[in-house]
Amino acid sequence: MSLRDNLRVMVVDDMSTSRGLITQALDAIGIRHYSAEKDGKAAFQRLTASPVHLVISDFNMPGLDGLQLLEALRGHKVTQKVGFILITGRADPALIERGKKLAMNNFLAKPFDAPKMKACIEQVVGRL
């Protein structure tokens, strides 16, 4: 069993198109265990009840945005060490700086494809 078979991922994005794009990339990479939520709050509640290895979240969301979600995750003992990849349309330095402070593991700029996603995940968890 390779890492990709065991890795549990949560995808968080308010747009079903983007969720579809992300999960499609995960399918292409061969990551099988993923679930998706469409807002930060729901994702947080779910993650604290049933944790995963890696969260892939959009930044731009109503309610909790991606970094606010990260902040909440880092503040909770169950999820504080979870891997976190931020998907963002504009990778502006201020945003990344905020992410760094919250120990964001990596980010991925839109638009992305499966190889880019794979590289991004591998930078966090090692070879899949």
Binding site: K38, P62, G89, A103
Partner: protein, 696 residues
């Protein structure tokens, strides 16, 4: 790639929603009610469109959305104030964005010049194009080193990975009153793992003080199972919101670094909050294992996307169901069934069920008319610009639900009506001021459900119809004889005549060769009616009335020369028995019915449709008085009225062809086909007669 085409479709559907958010937001900015949340929502909408467009390589869309987003970003950060000028530009930009989305969906090219000039104007607001980064250029290099996860596949613990979950289940009274039974839930739980359950009756008051409709019981449950907390919650999915589930933390060897005491709590605490471990206070959302109330579970409104074809197939099947139900009813009525028998009860239940299914299925196709109305506000903006008039559109009842097909097919007629209202209805600003009216013309577009139909009204506060001019024009175009006496309504309805246009000069706006006649025929093909009322000096109201669905209509089942036919009740005003009616013979053999001082032409349905040629004794017939769109009355003579009922419309045009005087067909309870007559065509002079003038 199939998955990609699906996603693409989802994207464009989502775009429609986002564009709606966008125009709602801009409208709020315009009215000055916008908060920062609004600006954020508007920004997010544009940003999401850009993000999706990027994934599908829709460059023109990405580029425009990017520039638009920059402006919104400046508004968000307070660099730009909301001024009327900006709102105007935002409207234009959102219109443009909608265009780009549309052309991207249809895979068409869009003229880049318009985008460019708008982008320049937007950029100028934020202080010149220099501040604008192009979306195609690589994002500014950011200083970031990915952080490798200190990785092990062990997941942190959430209460009892040794397989023990402890929780308390407190049903509310709603759980009982909705017919749920805790015992069934416990049974489902016991299938997950070994369960130990204790009922807590401490809250139950003495029987004498016991309010009968309140719930007091709670249960403490210990479940040994490999399953996660989520799996347990799944059991309670159906009683979501009607109970409280409080998970207790089971102190347990943590795999993640946690400073908690290791010894398990010897005595299970009943108050979950007391089980909170000692932990530095985290932000309020992130405290301990929050007792998860299933009532506040995720997701606003959950929707799925379904192919329209599937819904239509379902609607078709439901139509068949209604027909078979009618057939069953009829065959049962033919055999003698003792009254009060089980067959009768079952049939009643079946009827109720099938009519409810029918209603629910139709509701799937129904959509709020809001989206269509929003598109109209753009038409108002464009038309008032083109005619240098000022107009404001107010919409009412935009949550009125209408069949999706109807909404789609209403777009063109409504667009045309609005252009007309601005172009011909409203006066120029100077003129309005002179008349003591507000400079800005008011256009009100409203929708409502009224007695089983959808009524859409377009009202303007303009000059009203210039009747002498309309009449003169109709005469000069040879549409009516010059000596014709006409009522105001009749004159107003001249606008619907083919080949009529009131503008002196064909303006580049409404005079595009489509007249109100096209509006009328489109509405009629939807089974609707359109009428116009006008008060000189005060404005014009155009009213469209449409059936709620396109699949069913209410009709009178009648018999003519041994044939069974259906007359839609929408146009029906009254029925008159032949022998109590006053009938006059006109010179050429035509007969008219005299009623309340009015002479109403009689059409013998059997003769008109060619079922019989010999004139009937009118005394023995029944007259159905129908009213056409032009308020013209006709008495349709039939042999007998059998019944009044809902019938399922089956189109004839696809299977057979168009028949003059026949709108469609239906299948009756006895399995026979009955034609549904088109009363408007019947009222119009038929092919058998010499063409008489329209207005007599």
């Amino acid at each position: 790639m199939n998955a990609n085409t699906d996603l693409r479709e989802i994207f464009f559907n989502e775009c429609e929603e986002l564009l709606e958010v966008l125009s709602d937001g801009i409208a709020q900015m315009e009215s000055g009610e916008a908060s920062l949340d609004t600006v954020n929502a508007v920004f997010r909408a544009v940003h999401s469109i850009k993000g999706g467009a990027g994934a599908f390589g829709l460059d023109a869309l990405v580029e425009f959305a990017h520039g638009f987003e920059n402006t919104l970003d400046d508004m968000r950060s307070g660099k730009l104030e909301t001024t009327p000028r900006i709102v105007e530009l935002l409207y234009m930009a959102s219109d443009r964005l909608a265009d780009l989305v549309e052309s991207a969906r249809d895979r068409q090219e869009c003229d880049p010049a318009e985008s460019k000039s708008l982008l320049e104007q937007l950029a100028a607001l934020s202080g010149g194009p220099s501040t604008m980064s192009s979306p195609s250029e690589p994002e500014t290099e950011v200083d970031f080193a990915p952080m490798t996860l200190d990785f092990s596949l062990d997941l942190p613990d959430v209460g009892g990975s040794d397989g023990t979950h402890e929780f308390r289940f407190t049903p509310s009274k709603e759980l009982y009153s909705s017919g749920n039974d805790p015992a069934l839930l416990f049974r489902a739980l016991s299938e997950i793992g070994e369960m130990n359950i204790t009922a807590d009756t401490s809250c139950v008051p003495p029987l004498l003080d016991h309010p009968w409709d309140q719930a007091f019981l709670a249960w403490d449950i210990t479940l040994s199972s490999e399953k996660t907390q989520d799996d347990i919650l799944e059991v309670f999915e159906f009683v979501d919101g009607m109970c409280q589930i409080e998970f207790k933390e089971i102190p347990h060897n943590p795999t993640e670094g946690s400073s908690r005491a290791e010894e398990p709590d010897p005595e299970p605490e009943t108050v979950p909050q007391a089980a909170e471990p000692v932990q530095p206070p985290a932000p309020p959302v992130a405290e301990g294992i929050k007792p998860k109330k299933t009532g506040e579970s995720s997701g606003p409104n959950t929707t799925i996307r379904v192919d329209l074809d599937r819904v239509d197939r379902l609607i078709n099947l439901v139509g068949e169901l209604v027909i078979s139900e009618a057939m069953l009813t009829q065959s049962i009525s033919e055999v003698t069934v003792p009254s009060g028998s089980k067959v009768e009860t079952a049939l009643t239940t079946l009827k109720q069920l099938s009519s409810e299914i029918q209603e629910r299925v139709m509701a799937i196709r129904a959509q709020p008319i809001k989206f269509l109305f929003q598109r109209m506000s753009r038409i108002v903006r464009e038309s008032s610009q083109a005619t240098s008039k000022q107009a404001r559109l107010t919409t009412e009842g935009e949550m009125t639900e209408v069949d999706k097909t109807v909404i789609e097919r209403l777009a063109d007629p409504l667009t045309h009506m609005i252009r007309n209202a601005v172009d011909h209805g409203l006066e120029k600003p100077e003129k309005r001021l002179e008349l003591g009216k507000p400079e800005k013309g008011e256009i009100i577009l409203s929708a409502a459900h009224r007695s089983g139909r959808v009524v859409i009204e377009l009202k303007d506060d303009g000059a009203g119809i210039n009747r002498p001019k309309v009449k003169a024009l109709a005469i000069s175009k040879g549409l009516i004889p010059s000596d014709l006496e006409m009522s105001d309504t009749e004159i107003d309805n001249l606008l619907f005549l083919p080949g009529f246009s009131t503008a002196d000069a064909v303006s580049n706006l409404s005079g595009r060769g489509v007249g109100m006649d096209v509006v009328r025929s489109e509405i009629q093909s939807l089974g609707g009616r359109v009428s116009i009322q006008s008060t000189p000096g005060h404005g014009t109201t155009v009213t469209i009335s449409l059936p709620l669905t396109l699949a069913v209509l209410e009709g009178m089942v009648v018999q003519v020369a041994g044939e069974t036919l259906v007359v839609p009740t929408t146009a029906l005003r009254e029925t008159i028995r032949g022998r109590s009616a006053t009938i006059h013979q006109m010179g050429s053999g035509d007969k008219v019915l005299a009623m309340r001082g009015e002479l109403i032409p009689i059409v013998d349905l059997g003769e008109r449709l060619g079922f019989r040629s010999t004139p009937q004794d009118l005394d023995k017939l029944v007259f159905l008085l129908v009213e056409s769109d032009a308020d013209k009355r006709t008495a349709i003579a039939v042999d007998r009225v059998v019944d009044q009922r809902e019938v399922v419309i089956k189109g004839l045009e696809a299977n057979y062809g168009r028949i003059d005087g026949v709108a469609a067909a239906t299948i009756l309870g006895d399995g026979r086909i009955a034609l549904i007559v088109d009363t408007d065509q019947l009222a119009a002079p038929g092919p058998s007669r010499s063409s008489a003038p329209m207005f007599t």
